[in-house]
């Protein structure tokens, strides 16, 4: 059963169960895949976007300009450029064009490997197989790429067109690659293979190395053994006579390009102490270092600078929960004196500000950085970018961190990062300046392939509006497998709302964990138990009279459109 939980299919399965669509699931399992519309081929691979506002790069803006792309490359940018006759023309009068964004560390498009069938405690936990130990540096993320993985679609919809991706695993999952978020086959996605040796300071469950203690020492040992082996191989290669044959060791060999500094080690180093520990390893062993998904780096900047490490800051930020708190003030105020509570909230706010201000702090310190989406919820990324900007990062700096800086850090500046003649045709087009709260991405071009985003007009969230939700609602959730219908009931108790959800296919009603109505912004969540695991569903919607529209997010597994209609009879 455990193996089943871990697999990719299983996750989708759970998500669907969590949302209450077991029947649909069965349909998928026992019948053929649902009929898919065959995608029509574009009539041309040449595009011209006319009369648009083009941000060629940070601080380089062109008004009413045209961008021409042909066969996957940008062939002209500027005012009054000639439009080739075969071009598909997109009127860009109200569009803003940017270079496609680059994600410095991600798992978009990477499938999770199936777990071993037998996850019982091994007979000798001190000597596990390298796979159990999480030591598989010889693995290559390209093996695990899946062009139809939804995570790539989600990231692309935000404007990302390229990403450095890494395999799943623990201490040494394998080497990463830089991919474009398009392509029919895994190889077609790859821009550069073996971009870095990826590592996490994560122990293996119940076998050696299980803690940070052993992960750190195992790292040193492997590296030093690799140095030793490599030296011997060199000696052996120079003159083999009289020397015993060096044993082949794929694990150690995976370190050779690192030792030669042909590739860096890319660490997931989200916590401050991990950042420090990783730099300790680097200072001892001397490899080139990339710090990925850094979340708490503000106190380590001096050391980061002197280490020469490259940095990708996390796009994940702690939630700003203030609104929630004020709601149940009466209940919460209980055991803390108001002064104490205020002081504690203030300290929390100070630290929250450090997180949101991290990018600006790095910027001020003169550290070039890109971003990493590794642990960020896709639906939070744009909000988080705006929060960083609010905390002191300028829009140009944010744009640089999404485009030119990662291009530079990943060695892609000649191909990606700006809207310039000769670069790969990867662009993002939004209907307002990208960092504007109401901006929507309308087109994304990846490697000259167009992805168009239809915009459904959703009613505006308006804190001033007074919506009323008490009553019973019929709710439709749209999933890739079809529609699902549930019934949601809201009750009002004083100023607080509560409620429950039940669906035709849900075994029993589940009570909603929190219901919040702020003006006409509605939020509720509930947890569904499936096979002993719980899945939290967060619904975020905007109420317009007797209907609401929004999305249901199930953890990291994705989000789906939701529509509710008030039942007038009840």
């Amino acid at each position: 059963m455990k193996r089943f939980y871990r697999s990719r299919i299983c996750l989708k399965f759970m998500v669907m169960l969590a949302l209450g669509w077991p029947a649909l699931l069965q349909a998928q399992q026992f019948q053929q895949q649902p009929q898919e519309e065959k995608e029509l081929s574009p009539v041309s691979r040449t595009y011209a976007i006319t009369n648009a506002t083009v941000f060629q790069g940070p601080g380089r803006k062109l008004d009413r300009a045209t961008v021409v792309m042909k066969d996957g490359l940008i062939t002209a940018v500027g005012k009054g450029v000639a439009i080739p006759p075969e071009a598909i023309i997109i009127k860009g009068d109200s569009l803003y064009i940017y270079a496609g964004f680059i994600d410095g560390l991600s798992r978009a498009g990477v499938s999770k490997p199936k777990e071993e069938a037998n996850r019982e405690r091994p007979k000798d936990p001190g000597n596990p197989t390298p796979e159990l130990a999480g030591i598989t540096p010889q693995n290559d993320v390209r093996t695990f790429l899946n062009p139809s993985d939804k995570s790539a679609d989600d990231l692309r919809a935000l404007g990302f067109t390229a990403a450095q991706v890494v395999p799943y695993g623990n201490m040494l999952p394998g080497s990463g690659a830089i991919i474009q978020l398009t392509g029919k086959t895994s190889d077609a996605m790859v821009l550069a293979g073996k971009s870095a040796l990826f590592s996490e300071l994560t122990g293996a469950p119940r076998v050696y190395p299980s803690t940070i203690l052993a992960v750190m020492s195992k790292w040193r040992e492997l590296y030093r053994q690799a140095v030793q082996n490599k030296n011997y191989e060199t000696m052996y290669a120079a003159n083999r006579a009289g020397l015993s044959r060096p044993a082949s060791d794929r694990i150690l060999e995976a370190f050779y390009p690192v030792i030669d500094k042909r590739i860096p080690v890319l660490f997931e180093a989200d916590k401050y102490l991990e950042t420090q520990r990783v730099m300790t390893l680097q200072s001892e062993l001397g490899f080139s270092l990339v710090l990925g998904d850094v979340k708490e780096g503000w106190d380590a900047i001096a050391r980061i600078k002197s280490s020469g490490a490259k940095v990708f800051l996390s796009l994940d930020l702690p939630e700003d929960k203030k609104e929630e708190k004020s709601k149940d003030k009466k209940e919460e105020a209980g055991t803390l004196t108001p002064a104490e509570k205020e002081a504690l909230e203030k300290r929390k706010a100070e630290f929250l500000a450090l997180y949101t201000g991290q990018a600006a702090t790095f910027q001020k310190a003169g550290v070039t950085f890109g971003f990493s989406s590794l642990s960020a919820k896709t639906s939070d990324i744009r909000t988080n970018l705006r929060r960083m900007i609010k905390a002191g990062l300028t829009e140009d700096q944010a744009l640089a961190a999404l485009t030119t800086s990662p291009a530079q850090l990943l060695g892609l500046s000649d191909r990606l990062g700006t809207v310039d003649n000769g670069k790969i045709a990867s662009l993002v087009l939004s209907d307002k300046p990208y960092f504007h709260e109401k901006a929507r991405v309308r087109y994304v071009f990846v490697d000259g392939i167009m992805y168009k985003y239809d915009v459904k007009e959703t009613p505006k969230a308006d804190a001033g509006a007074k919506a009323e939700i008490t009553g019973t609602w019929s709710v439709t959730t749209e999933t890739p497998q079809g529609k699902s219908e549930e019934t949601v009931t809201f009750k009002k108790d004083g100023s607080n709302y509560s409620g429950s959800i039940t669906g035709g296919r849900l075994a029993q009603a589940v009570s909603l964990e929190k219901v919040e109505l702020n003006g006409n912004a509605l939020r509720y969540s509930y947890t569904v138990q499936v096979g002993g695991q719980s899945f939290k569903v967060d619904v975020d919607a905007t109420v317009d009279g007797s209907s609401y529209k929004g999305s249901a997010t199930v953890g990291q597994y994705g989000s789906f459109p939701v529509e509710g209609k008030k039942d007038p009879n009840r």
């Binding site: 209980g334 055991t335 947890t527």
Partner: protein, 435 residues
């Protein structure tokens, strides 16, 4: 196979300790004693200098200056020494727990979340090695509690002398309720706030249900004059519902204390004692207002929240007392070191409670809370001769206890630990053995 071996090993182990327990300590001595020339800390009536305590028939026959020593009394000259009432530890597992990590050596926790009928007094082992070890430090009386989930059993107040549980019993029992808690059990407890809340709510419903049933059972029992169905859990709850027995509620997080106070009020529970109250200082006024006594401790503990002032656990008893709460101090020690009771009190004293109140918190106050103040808790005429003699302030670690009396019995001042000291201070043979 492995399991069999383990069990055999366990049985052997049990045998070993039973054998050892058999060879415990010399006997106590009963008789008439005159403790003369002592400074007497009566606790309730101040300090008597150069005084005498007469012990006869298990009781304090006389206390004061100018007291005639009865004929035939054994005179113990206490010049330079102090007499204190025996110390009462209000939270222990004495007698139920011989040593840890061996199920065979512990009778602390019975199966089931509602088992008030499980009586500590049944399983208290009068021959536990821990009894003399703690007794010779002047801890004469302990409340022994069965642990577990929700209603985990009936606690008993025992003296640290006697060959049967009945001989040890000091006349107080109470049902223990471990109140549903929202606090985390430690850093390893990684449940979400939501999960904790849910689990707590569920448990709250459960205890309310138990209480309501107990009330129903009481009504039926009264109406049928005790001829209701056999229902041992409810039978055990009867005296609590009727207010004849106290309910000890173990509760620590401030919010849980508030919930418990509300629950007590709502259920109109007549006799209640709170126990633990680690965050009692946060809601001290509310506890005082509810007029419920507390058994606070352990005092030697870490603060419950990482932003709390570092000494909050030490200061807790004092802060509660200051708010007007009746405070007894307990050790709840995990290593059977109830002998450290004066040190828990000492820390409370140093961190704000003051020596006088801290002393009361391990003598007369618990005696009052447990309804045994007519016998225990102070040096007064007519009370049980449960007291000790020492050469200074018993809160000070360097102070030595020279005599301990329990119910008039003079205790031998030896324990396994002192015997080992006697044997090994100068081991013979040393490194070289003559053969």
């Amino acid at each position: 196979m492995i399991r069999t071996i383990k069990y055999i090993a366990g049985l052997l182990l049990l045998l070993v300790c039973v054998m050892d327990l058999g060879a415990q300590s010399p006997k106590g001595k009963y008789g008439t004693f005159a403790l003369t020339n002592a400074s007497i800390e009566t606790v309730t009536k101040g300090v008597i200098s150069n005084g005498t305590v007469i012990i006869r028939n298990g009781k304090i026959e006389a206390v004061g200056t100018n007291i005639q020593v009865p004929q035939g009394a054994e005179v113990i000259d206490c010049k330079g020494s102090w007499i204190y009432p025996g110390m009462i530890d209000s939270g222990t597992r004495l007698g139920l727990f011989e040593f840890g990590q061996a199920p065979q050596a512990t009778d602390v926790s019975e199966l089931g979340d509602v088992v008030p009928q499980m009586k500590a007094l049944t399983a208290i082992n009068p021959n536990s090695a821990a009894i003399p070890i703690n007794r010779i430090s002047g801890v004469t009386t302990t409340l022994t509690l069965p642990e577990g989930d929700l209603f985990s059993g009936t606690a008993a107040l025992v003296s640290l002398h006697g060959y049967t549980p009945d001989q040890m019993f000091e006349g107080f029992e109470a049902v223990l309720l471990n109140f549903p808690r929202t606090g985390r059990r430690g850093p390893f407890d990684r449940r979400s706030d939501e999960d904790i809340k849910k689990a707590t709510e569920k448990s709250l419903l459960r205890i309310s249900e138990v209480w309501e049933r107990a009330v129903q059972y009481h009504r039926i029992d009264s109406a049928t004059k005790g001829k209701g169905t056999y229902y041992p859990e409810m039978q055990a709850m009867l005296p609590v519902v009727r207010g004849e027995m106290a309910l000890i509620i173990d509760v620590n997080a401030a919010r849980d204390i508030q919930t418990a106070l509300k629950w007590i009020k709502e259920k109109k529970i007549k006799k209640v004692i709170l126990s633990g109250v680690a965050e009692g200082w946060r809601v001290a006024d509310e506890i005082a207002k509810a007029n419920i006594p507390v058994l606070a401790g352990p005092v030697l503990e870490l603060p419950t929240r990482d932003y709390d002032r570092y000494d909050k656990a030490y200061a807790n008893p004092g802060l509660l007392r200051k708010a007007g709460v009746k405070v007894a101090i307990k050790t709840d020690d995990g290593h059977l070191n109830y002998r450290n009771l004066p040190y828990h009190a000492g820390f409370a004293a140093a961190y704000g409670m003051g020596r006088e109140e801290a002393l009361k918190a391990i003598t007369i106050v618990p005696a009052e809370i447990f309804g045994v103040a007519d016998k225990l808790g102070s040096i007064e005429q007519g009370k049980s001769a449960t007291l000790f003699v020492c050469n200074g302030d018993p809160f000070e670690p360097k102070t030595q206890v020279s005599q301990v009396f329990i119910d008039g019995w003079q205790m031998p001042m030896v324990s396994r630990q002192t015997l080992l000291y006697d044997e090994f201070l100068q081991r013979d043979p040393g490194v070289a053995k003559e053969k």
